[in-house]
Symmetry: C2
Subunit: 337 residues, 2 copies
């Protein structure tokens, strides 16, 4: 016969209420007690009935994190932070890949899976504020990133304009004068690319460098191959750049591959800086300078917002949080030489 | 009032049974019909009651894929294949990171989430056959990788001994004679490292090269930093190697970083080959030779096994499937020069 919650309580020597608290993932259970209960749960093979708990107003302890592409290292590294930090709330994070497709993103925020999920954290590429406003599902939702900065929903982002400015100012400070940008997305209004382009232009202006549209390379995606291809086009210009700001590290690593394959020295001939601070850039040759968003802080802020929202009234004001970033200078940027 | 399945059928102009088929993710619904139904579902905001469906013997359409580390590119790329191919079954894949910890892996296979999940695909690092045999949960389970090759459960892997042999034979064919190995895990019995070490030793024997234990570097994990560190130690030997077989690409990329930073040319001074064929190796300088498991085939085989198992009797014989691999030669391996 299946073990009941009473059996578990008896085995652990605690009250049924305490077992229930552990099973429901409440935070304020002493670590020792939690362990004792967990051992009893394991030994007896107790399986809480999640549906029943949900009906009673209980929680499943599951949080869904929806990201566009799990094979993009920035999202993989961010997801790993969420998995790690969610343990502090007793939550398990399940990762859902949307491929940035509107249908998938709508399915997530419309809560097709909301019987199962206590909270949603979504990094959207296609959703609009309209979709958020029309949302019927009431599962607590927190958005990440730059796609939807004015939707009526909790939100965590970094200051992308300032981050891009810092990258380009660094290149200008090194004496670079023809600074290219890889990653514009003129077909998309708003979002990451538009903000980083804005920061790029502001930094050029402050450094009194001319803005040359020929040095701004559009891409469809932010992958290595896009960066490699864009760099080919930049090297084919009559006046190639002496520095490149790539809107993410992955494109920067693709651009460096093209530069080295075509006999250009990095950073001597062309300095390269990315954005994201993925681990790969610490082991590339040259190592990659970058703008590093504080991924741990992003995860921490988003989880706290979900936690607050779970306990909040439906009409509680949406919160807007901004995580930090820092400039990380490595081998790929240096004065011309 | 919430829309009923009848409302959806009326709006789509199809039978209730057809709506139910679409909602339950059956495969054999014509694409046009599926679209019509989907549109009606969307427009009416119909939300199937997953728990009720489960009770009726229905399905949630959710498959969980548990991998040790989502930020390890091999797993991220494999997960992306699963997400993509699962659509053919109408399934959504949720990714669960276990960090290779026994407790997490047990929680997954013991079905803590089995109310929610139609099938489990797990790539274990710590589980033993004993845990599988003691399993009470009946959610269909498929294992990936080399950790548990003789447990009574469906399983997909590649021939790791043959893969490692191919890598090392390639280095020997190039005329390399002091071939090192990075990635042994003497503290772990069985599993990936043991099999790749076995293939390494067999290939040395066939090439009539002496086995030198000093050239075999143990690691705790398969990360870039482990490869970089092991390469330091190899270069500090009185007789450094002229080639290195790393048990995965990530360690190979770390090893290349160390080699270049210490002024060694790759491949002229030291040839390097990895295992996994992650995208990063196509854009590194030099690009990385590797053994490429067919990730798409792994995902395809595992999903087919889950699908079969969902419809199978409990006592159906466990299936064992082997996916292909191939040797991919890029810039990091060439004759000494």
């Amino acid at each position: 016969m299946a073990a009941s919650i009473k059996d578990v309580a008896a085995r652990a020597g605690v009250s049924v209420k305490t077992v229930s608290n552990v099973v429901n993932g409440y935070q304020f259970v002493a670590a020792g007690t939690r362990e004792k209960v967990q051992r009893a749960l394991d030994e007896l093979g107790y399986r809480p009935n999640l549906s029943a708990r949900r009906l009673r107003g209980g929680r499943t302890g599951l949080i869904a994190l929806a990201v566009p592409e799990i094979r993009v290292p920035y999202f993989a590294e961010l997801a790993a932070q969420f998995v790690q930090l969610a343990k502090e709330y007793g939550w398990t994070v399940l990762i859902d890949e949307t491929q940035g497709a509107l249908d998938n993103e709508r399915e997530v925020v419309e809560g097709i899976k909301s019987h199962l999920i206590d909270g949603l954290i979504v990094s959207p590429l296609a959703l609009t504020a309209k979709h958020i406003e029309a949302r019927r599902d009431r599962t607590p939702l927190v958005l990440l990133g730059e796609r939807l900065t004015h939707a009526p929903v909790d939100h965590v982002s970094i200051d992308n304009v300032a981050g891009a400015q810092a990258a380009v100012a660094h290149l200008a400070d090194l004496g670079r004068t023809r600074i290219a940008a890889i990653g514009s997305q003129p077909h998309i209004s708003g979002g990451t690319a538009a903000l980083r382009l804005k920061g790029y232009r502001q930094a050029l202006r402050r450094a009194r460098l001319a803005y040359d549209p020929a040095l701004v390379m559009p891409v469809t995606r932010f992958h290595r191959a896009d960066g490699a291809r864009a760099m080919q086009a930049l090297l084919d210009l009559e006046q190639p750049p002496d520095a490149v700001f790539c809107f993410n590290d992955l494109m920067a690593l693709g651009a460096i591959r093209t530069l080295l394959a075509r006999g250009c020295r990095v950073p001597q001939d062309v300095a390269v800086i990315g954005f994201d601070d993925i681990e790969e850039g610490q082991f590339s040759t040259p190592t990659l300078s970058t703008v590093a968003p504080d991924k741990e802080q992003i995860a921490r802020l988003a989880l706290r917002l979900v936690h607050q929202r779970i306990g909040a009234r439906d009409d509680a004001q949406p919160q807007e949080e901004t995580a930090d970033f820092r400039l990380v200078v490595r081998e790929s940027t240096a004065p011309a030489g």
